[in-house]
Symmetry: C2
Subunit: 176 residues, 2 copies
């Protein structure tokens, strides 16, 4: 481990490649997180917040992780669903009656082992949000399908994992 | 800068949050990369390789960066297109007559400033691949739309940026 903070560790491994040559491989370890597509009236609930590394505010699907950088690897199934429900409730105030698991995708597997568990939430009931201090600037709102397309087209919803989650969901919806 | 190797730097910033509290923010800097959707006969050309951080082989769209971790921030437009052509040619042997830019998306903006420039390539001509030593295990092949859906559904194409690129392309194709 060559670097560690409360949210990530960076590890440097010595590796032997398929051709027998050796080298180093830097791997960023962060705990898995959950992302929720909250489906409602033919549209989606989104959140918007400031993302420091890219210096801007963007729309995305509710998402988050348990607060521990040491917990690497896949989350236990029940744990991932509980995390999804918690992030949805904290960030939007929505309670989901039904949660459906769409899959786990690696976020940046060229240099990280982190994965994201993707869920679709339906049967939504509105309550008050309960955001963490670091999410004080967050807002949430419902958008219809056309407005979602517009946010994607104009780059205001550009988060790779949110866009990837749409691909998974739209393929599943097409299959019925 | 708290860590550096040939492909990434990790920076630790002191930040002041919207509520006035202070803290640290770890940011992974890697150079932008380019990803290409090579469209052909109603399907796509894909590559498959071993991804060390997740210990497995997966299908994805051809992608890569110039070899320099110091070059952060967006690539100049012509540079991004040249990189896309090079990665496509090296990884698949395909030469693209036409290249269309779909957008730049942040890969993991919760902790990284890295972006990916996404292109669609058409008018393809097959030549020999010219892979880097670290890509010696790579293979490429054409898949039809149904087989692509099957690779996505079964998790054998799960790269977040490849899935995100599909969302951008399918929305554009729908608009015509």
């Amino acid at each position: 481990v060559v670097y560690r903070n409360a949210w990530m560790t960076v590890r440097e491994d010595e590796v032997i490649r398929a051709d027998g040559s050796t080298g180093i491989y830097g791997v960023v370890n962060k705990p898995d997180f959950a992302l929720v597509l909250p489906l409602d009236r033919g549209g989606y609930h989104l959140v918007e917040q400031y993302r420091y590394p890219v210096r801007g505010r963007f729309w995305e699907f509710p998402q988050g992780s348990w607060a521990s950088a040491d917990a690497g690897g896949p989350l236990p199934p029940g744990d991932a669903a509980e995390l999804a429900r918690r992030e949805l409730r904290e960030e939007t105030g929505l309670h989901a009656e039904h949660l459906r698991h769409l899959g786990r995708i690696p976020v940046a597997y060229g240099y990280s082992s982190q994965g994201c568990e993707i869920f679709v939430a339906t049967g939504l009931t509105q309550g008050p949000p309960d955001r963490e201090p670091s999410e004080a600037d967050m807002r949430s709102r419902w958008v219809g399908a056309d407005e979602l397309d517009n946010l994607v087209r104009t780059g205001r919803l550009c988060d790779a994992v949110s866009l990837a989650a749409l691909t998974l969901w739209e393929r599943l919806a097409r299959r019925g």
